[in-house]
């Protein structure tokens, strides 16, 4: 049986060399179709993946409507919290873990006066951030809850920044100066850059460069360090006109995250949020019914349309493209197989069964698929190089040709071709031995 299979493959390979034009057209058709789908799929895979699969169902964004039906957009609460609500959630401490965060951009002043200051961008957050998001550490670790409380000037830096400033040495315990403020390094993260950056969609940092620094939220606010990201203020005018009145105002700029372990905890947290909103209404701050949201990572990515529409559109079009190439292949295979009707007739007359014909022609199609897949691989590689022209570089960088994509390319090419070959093969197997012999 396996000897027969190899023989069929050999026949297939030999047949490829006949009808060079038809064969070449088929291989090109499959190659282009597969390559177009694979390239766009690689991008889609890169942008639509789960950035934190092990925890995405346990991390939630709690949102509170502080605008009310008059000013909110389409009934949805704003996509971040103001300082008042953020602090209330932190104080209540109703989740297993909780953190608030906002982007900060601070100027690093190298000790060497010859080197120019440069910006280091990262987040002001709470100590739970690191354990909630499974941030890996190279040296040291996160600061602790006590240091959050005491607003300590501590900092966690990234591996890349540690490399730049300390040549990669263990810098835990050393001092670093950012915008004339001294920070003590408590930890160095290992390479960590989840994409899309689900925890900071509010500031449009889905595909931003990796963050380099993390400092305590409490310290940043105490030092009046401004957000390096967005502020979103409603049209109701309650914004404040100084640092203090702004903190108590209704502009939102803080991304909240909580960790909840099971459905019961989620339910309890929802009740807590609604209770909080009712308290605010009773206190006269809100004059509307509680309108809160609690979404996990995937729901949040969906709601925020984290997958760029370009990627979805091109994936759908590329799939359509593959279908056309397959229709084309069916037609060409039909032509190729039916051209050999006399040969089939002879083989059938000499005792070959229909099953034999099936096996032979499907094997031949597999060979065409393999060749098409090989061409498709080359075209996919070329396409990956050209991705930067089509998608934003931050997104294009994410897509890469790895072993799984190579295998998938070959598999799709062969699978699709064999699938396309079913009808032409069936037609070939219908050839009547006698009829063909007669006409010869």
């Amino acid at each position: 049986m396996s000897g027969m299979f190899v023989h069929n493959l050999r026949l297939g390979a030999a047949s490829l060399r006949r009808n060079v034009l038809l064969t070449a057209l088929m291989i090109m058709s499959i190659g282009f179709g597969v390559a177009a789908s694979m390239v766009t799929f690689a991008v889609f895979r890169a942008v639509s993946g789960d950035p934190i699969p092990q925890k995405s169902s346990r991390l939630f964004v709690p949102l509170i409507d502080n605008r009310g039906p008059q000013y909110n957009r389409h009934g949805e609460p704003p996509s971040a919290l103001n300082y008042t609500d953020a602090m209330a959630l932190m104080r209540a401490h109703k989740a297993v873990k909780q953190t608030m965060l906002f982007p900060v951009g601070l100027s690093v002043m190298p000790d060497d006066p010859q080197r120019m200051p440069f910006k280091a961008v990262g987040y002001a957050t709470y100590s739970d951030f690191f354990s909630m998001f499974d941030v890996p550490f190279l040296y040291g670790g996160a600061w602790d809850n006590g240091q959050d409380e005491s607003r300590e000037a501590v900092i966690v830096i990234s591996r890349a920044l540690n490399q730049k400033l300390f040549g990669g040495a263990n810098s835990v315990g050393r001092q670093i100066t950012l915008d004339d403020r001294q920070f003590r390094i408590v930890g160095v993260t290992d390479t960590w850059d989840p994409k899309p950056r689900f925890f900071d969609i509010f500031d449009g940092n889905l595909y931003a460069d990796p963050s380099q620094i993390y400092i305590p939220f409490t310290y940043a606010v105490g030092q009046r360090i401004d957000t390096y990201g967005s502020n979103n203020c409603g049209s109701d005018g309650k914004r404040g006109d100084s640092w203090d009145s702004w903190l108590s105002g209704e502009c939102v700029w803080i991304s909240p995250w909580v960790q909840l372990e099971d459905a019961a905890q989620v339910q309890a947290y929802r009740q807590f949020l609604d209770g909080y909103a009712r308290e605010q209404r009773d206190a006269g701050r809100f004059n509307w019914a509680p309108n809160n949201r609690l979404r996990d990572v995937r729901e949040w990515l969906d709601f925020q349309h984290a997958v760029p529409p370009e990627s979805r559109i091109s994936l759908s079009l590329a799939l359509g493209f593959l279908v056309i190439c397959l229709v084309n292949t069916i037609g060409l295979l039909l032509a190729k197989f039916m051209r050999r009707a006399p040969e089939i007739g002879v083989r059938r007359a000499l005792g070959a069964s229909r099953a034999d014909i099936y096996r032979q022609f499907l094997a031949e199609a597999a060979m065409v698929g393999l060749a098409g897949g090989a061409l498709g691989l080359v075209l996919t590689a070329v396409g990956m190089l050209g991705l930067g022209m089509v998608f934003e570089p931050q997104i294009a960088r994410l897509a890469h040709l790895d072993l799984s994509l190579v295998l998938l390319t070959l598999l799709v090419a062969i699978g699709a071709t064999v699938f396309a070959a079913f009808y032409p093969t069936w037609r070939a197997a219908q050839v009547q031995p006698a009829w063909q012999l007669k006409s010869n």
Binding site: G331, L332, F391
Partner: protein
């Protein structure tokens, strides 16, 4: 030309006929939609900013340390002084943003202080008296800001400038058909009187969410003092953009080294700004173009392949027809007509498919409705493609000699 014999011949090749028709239909559907996307993206990225793009560059200077508002204002004024003296610099203005930057300050505009709903959204550009000249804007009514009207404000201070300049697009929304100069609009912090109207000034973002107020901008006579940093928009003398860009950065560091001007986006010529802003639109247009071309080629190849096969199969019949007096032209016309029939059927189905596909994209991706022109252009294109692809095999068929009728195969 009789169509009947062709149709009856096609009935013997149901599969091949169906496959070619399907391929034409699918290709038509995708190419129509692709062309439509290309056209939309190109239309989007050719929207004008209203400014003198070839001669403008932008510097983003971020302060080191944490200077207070008064200090920031002093440093900005020193920087402006320095930039003004750089060789090749024609004019300079400080601002919080610029068209195509992609972020900045958007806010609501109202006509009455107690109004609940906004009258319009608008991009807020902070500026001084040199803003209009630096950007090359066209003042079409009223006047520019006077130097003594230019104030400065902290990021969180109330936005309530006594005077503002607005764009024509905002006037058309707020005061259609009226003279807006002298009228009052209410920004978030209070009223401002319109003293001037400029013709065209695009909003800071060209994303879809900002399309509501694409050209509605309000120019505020204040320097916005943010401790993080600010933008200097510089207009170079014609032809001196590159040298002025280099010299400007050097001069700024010489004046005050306590700043960060990023290597990759600290100084951008406006053409860089433009290409960054439209990266995904341009990319999408290129992708659609490539897909369409390859698709048309694949379809043409399929038609050539199948028709060649048919011709090969029918050599004997062709020979018989030739022997019975059919001319070469008759044979040629036969295959051309056959293809035209198949393609027309395919195109008809393809038009329906294209509309369906477009409707699906309208609901999924908030796309616009496909216009009839694209369907017509697409259908004609595919009919021509079919005729072109069938030409070579049909010519080969027409050269089959009548003697072929006597051969046994």
């Amino acid at each position: 030309m009789q169509i009947k014999p062709i149709l009856s011949a096609l009935r013997r090749h149901k599969a091949g006929t169906f496959l070619i028709a399907m391929q034409i239909a699918l290709t038509l559907a995708i190419v129509c939609n692709a062309l439509f996307i290309i056209h939309q993206r190109i239309a989007h990225l050719s929207e004008p900013t209203g400014i003198d793009e070839p001669n403008i560059f932008v510097i983003k200077s971020e302060w080191v340390g944490h200077p207070d508002s008064a200090r920031v204002d002093a440093m900005i004024r020193e920087d402006l002084q320095v930039l003004r003296q750089v060789a090749g610099v024609q004019n300079v203005t400080p601002s919080n943003s610029y068209p195509l930057r992609g972020s900045g300050w958007d806010d609501s505009v109202k006509l009455k202080p107690d109004q609940l709903q906004d009258s319009s959204g608008a991009t807020i550009y902070f500026a001084d008296q040199n803003f209009i000249d630096t950007l090359g804007l066209k003042l079409i009514a009223g006047r520019n800001f006077r130097a003594d009207e230019i104030g400065h404000m902290d990021m969180r201070y109330r936005l309530a400038p006594p005077v503002v300049i607005v764009t024509k697009a905002l006037v058309q929304k707020l005061f259609p058909g009226e003279d807006a100069v002298g009228k009052t609009i209410y920004l978030i912090g209070g009223p401002g009187t319109i003293v001037g109207v400029v013709d065209l000034l695009q909003a800071q973002s060209v994303e879809r969410w900002a399309s509501d107020f694409a050209y509605r901008s309000v120019i505020i006579p204040e320097r916005l003092n943010i401790s993080l940093g600010s933008f200097y928009i510089v207009r170079a003398q014609p032809g001196q953009l590159d040298s002025a860009m280099h010299a400007a950065v050097k001069a700024l560091f010489a004046q005050n080294p306590r700043r960060v001007i990023n290597d990759d986006d600290g100084v951008l010529s406006f053409s860089d700004v433009r290409s960054r802003a439209y990266e995904s639109d341009r990319g999408m247009a290129i992708l659609m173009g490539v897909i369409s071309v390859v698709l048309l080629a694949v379809t043409a190849a399929g038609i050539v392949g199948l028709t060649s096969f048919w011709v090969g199969q029918r050599r004997k019949q062709i020979g018989v027809r030739r022997a019975l007096g059919a001319t070469r032209r008759d044979i040629l016309r036969y295959f051309m007509t056959e293809n035209l029939l198949i393609s027309s059927g395919g195109a008809l189905f393809g038009v329906l498919l294209a509309i369906a596909m477009n409707l699906w994209m309208v609901t999924r991706f908030e796309m616009h409705r496909l216009s009839l022109t694209y369907l017509v252009i697409g259908a004609v294109m595919l009919l021509l493609l079919g005729q072109g692809a069938v030409l070579a095999p049909a010519l080969r068929a027409s050269r089959v000699p009548p003697v072929e009728a006597t051969r046994s195969v």
